[in-house]
């Protein structure tokens, strides 16, 4: 009995792990050209929903997220490159709309501080270890 329950729990966990998150793109939004649709989905996954803020527009049900998904698809149909689409969005909403902040002089601390803290941490651990060896 316990084994059965255990298997069910593990299965549910694995389903969560392998499922491609939520999928909110509505059927009428999907582009006929599969390559273009894939590009649109990849861009949407990197764009933050400004209303929910911790979701991408690909996952969000917010009306603005839908508007932006359609806008991205229209831009792709117009023949715009990915970079042009990202620039279009950051010009209006700033870098905050990108889920991954770009590496810029203003975000340098954000990218480098974790590594600096890690090195300091290693140094302290190494230092304490050496001290305890002496004792």
């Amino acid at each position: 009995m316990i084994n059965k329950t255990f298997i069910i729990i593990i299965s549910i966990c694995l389903i969560q792990l392998f499922s491609d998150n939520s999928f909110t793109v509505e059927p009428e939004e999907v582009l006929e050209n599969q390559k273009q649709e894939l590009r649109a989905r990849n861009i949407s996954k990197n764009i933050r929903c400004m209303i929910c803020q911790n979701q991408s527009i690909d996952e969000s049900n917010a009306p603005l997220a839908k508007d932006l998904r359609i806008l991205i698809r229209n831009k792709i149909k117009e023949g715009k490159k990915d970079k042009e689409i990202y620039n279009f969005l950051t010009d209006r909403y700033g870098d905050f709309i990108l889920l991954k902040p770009p590496l810029k002089s203003s975000t340098l601390a954000l990218w480098l501080l974790p590594f600096i803290f890690l090195i300091i941490g290693f140094f302290i651990v190494f230092h304490l270890n050496k001290k305890s060896e002496k004792i």
Binding site: M50, I51, Q53, P63, L64, D67, L68, L71, T90, D91, R92, Y93, G94, F96, I120, I124, H127
Partner: protein, 176 residues
Amino acid sequence: MRKQLLIAPTILFVFILLTLFYLLIIERNPSEVPSNLLNKKVPKFETESLLKNERFVSSQEFGNEIILVNFFATWCKPCRDEHIYIKRFSSEKKIRVIGINYKDNSSNAIDWLKNLGNPYSNVPIDKSGRIAIDWGVYGIPETFLINSKGIIKYRHVGQITKKTYKKINLLIKEIE
């Protein structure tokens, strides 16, 4: 010297705690994102006007005087609540206010303005929400302060309260 060095992480930790505590007690809205359009020209757009027969052309409207741009809709409760302050801007402070009607039903909007009073000198219609995207709008009501050169000087996300009303008035005096 080595002992002193070991105090560093504690000091750092206390510093981080104090910073977080400071951010907690100051009045701020963590979900409010600063506008990327600050100190830039107003986006160009052309659309129908709710109350006038002629089309609204942004290049003809901005750049002559200080203007307040207010994104509103009849379905938005905070828009109704802030309307009293929007009216005060136009009646008491004699500031020109343009109200962009966002994703709304036009006849509802006309009735709404009849009932609550119309502080707007013009009401361009943004049926699809596309104009709002060009302004970087993500949650109405949003209000922008434009100087006499057509440059965006301030953006407020959310309802205008007594405090923001005062703040915008101070900013108007500053840019006059």
